[in-house]
Symmetry: C2
Subunit: 307 residues, 2 copies
């Protein structure tokens, strides 16, 4: 039974899927983070465990091709990342052809019907990209929390924190974000001054943990909180603005990332606005399938049968 | 020759001043950071070097009193801070009465003509406080860069970074902040993509280094840049808003911190707005003199002769 393996290696998890030529998923495994910037030496272990886990009982000799989409693979560290993947596959006994692409490439190809179009991604970070013939032609944002990531989960969570803090502090009007975000954070009444409790709770948060506050913002907005609704509306505007920078005309647009695929209050208005501009919108909920698609092609399989 | 010693221990430096009963400064020494949260075990060394440096040849037996204003002295760690100061003075052979107050207390008393009024501080962070009979009655902001510090040097620098990045990225209109802030940061053309060069340069910056971008923002605004001028105007509005939360009526207001004492484009409109509300505005450029004032009182000296 010949299989190809696609891998999606991001900051918080590494995901591998093994698929047969008729498009059947025969195994899938999710392990720890795979971004070499953030996880260091554990990345190789996560990668090998994900691939061997997805293969299960399939002999490595039956692997026809492997493609991995890895955050940071396009940057200066690209050569290092490619060498590491080659070493890891060799260590697993996988001798099949393989390739390394970026996390953006698989996010686009995992949702796009063809090779041309736009990717608009909002997860912990946010970025837009334009592809022509699978080649990245332009990108906007993805500049990180200090310089951009506008409309991302981090951005929404960070605004919610500052808005709630301003309300606690008397600098802004009351908002139920204080209750909803405070509960999500698990802020405890320790000091007798809620502001100090918030400061202590928020200090150690990672960008991913700030992004994890998005559901609390949605809950507040759904219960009628104007400040929460404004933050989500501003995220929609920011994402549309980022997308517009790379847009050259109506095309296929893949929406990806946890915020754009999982948060209705962001996805629906973004979809509506993009469709009103003539775009065809596609949900790219499984970037790993973009890696599988590339692996099937690398194996020389008929593309129409890939998942 | 009897002296009192005032100490101002902040995140970036510790400053000690020795003063005689007639108000003459006989010695001053500045050493490294004195905030136990950020500098750890070096704090004691910085404190002892500052005090002994300010004393110079003055015998420790001639010290009549010591007062230190220390960031964080009011928080849960206050007991720890007071014990450390007692130990450090004992190690120096200083047996005089001493006291520890907060950095806000000395910032207020270093500029206030009396014991009542407001402190409005914008340095790396930003905070407002109301004092009645020297007692801190209310404070607003000072919540740190994640939750507030609105109108602070960090806040101004951070907005400038994001505005410049958005311009580089096509998300916002061009601004000369790209040139002025880029020069201040020393961004080098390494990757062929200026956005990547900025991301790499900005990643390791501390809050203090971000706050150090304020002069570049002022230069851009002075040369007619609308985006830079807007950031400074928003800082003025934010600081006035923070101050208004603790205001109960016209009173003495001490402006402190590097932004409010050193940046005309912020200080002047803030002063004008506060004066139009009936406040009397005072510049508190030397918080350490607030510690000296308290030390002179602790020594039982006639307050009118203290500097």
């Amino acid at each position: 039974m010949r299989v190809v393996v696609g891998v999606d290696a991001g900051g918080s998890s590494t995901r591998a899927v093994a698929v047969t030529a008729d498009g059947t998923v025969v195994g899938e495994r999710r392990t720890g983070g795979g971004n070499h910037h953030s996880v260091g030496t554990e990345v190789s272990r996560h990668f090998r465990e994900a691939v061997s886990g997805a293969l299960g009982d399939v002999p490595t000799a039956d692997v026809a091709a492997v493609v991995a989409g890895i955050a940071g693979a396009a940057a200066a560290a690209g050569a290092t990342v490619r060498q590491r993947v080659a070493d890891d596959l060799a260590a697993l006994g996988v001798a099949a052809p393989h390739a390394v692409v970026t996390d953006l490439d698989i996010a686009f190809l995992g949702g796009a019907p063809g090779d041309d179009g736009l990717l608009l991604l909002s997860g912990t970070g946010a970025v837009a990209a334009r592809y022509t013939g699978r080649r990245l032609e332009a990108r906007c944002d993805g500049m990180g929390w200090r310089l951009g990531d506008e409309g991302s989960g981090w951005w929404i969570g960070s605004r919610a924190l500052r808005t709630a803090a301003a309300a606690l502090d008397g600098r802004a009007a009351p908002t139920t974000l204080v209750q909803h975000v405070g509960a999500a954070l698990g802020v405890q009444d320790l000091s007798g001054d809620r502001r100090q409790d918030w400061i202590r709770t928020v200090a150690p948060l990672t960008a991913g943990q700030v992004a994890a506050l998005v559901p609390a913002v949605v809950t507040a907005a759904d219960s009628g909180d104007a400040a929460a609704a404004a933050i989500l509306a501003e995220a929609v505007e920011a994402l549309l603005g980022t997308c517009s920078v790379v847009t050259t005309g109506p095309t296929d647009v893949v929406l990806a990332g946890g915020v754009l695929t999982g948060v209705d209050a962001v996805r629906q208005p973004v979809t509506h606005a993009l469709e009103s501009l003539g775009h065809r919108v596609h949900l790219g909920e499984r970037p790993v399938l973009g890696a599988v698609r590339l692996a099937a092609e690398l194996a020389g399989w008929d593309r129409s049968t890939a998942p």
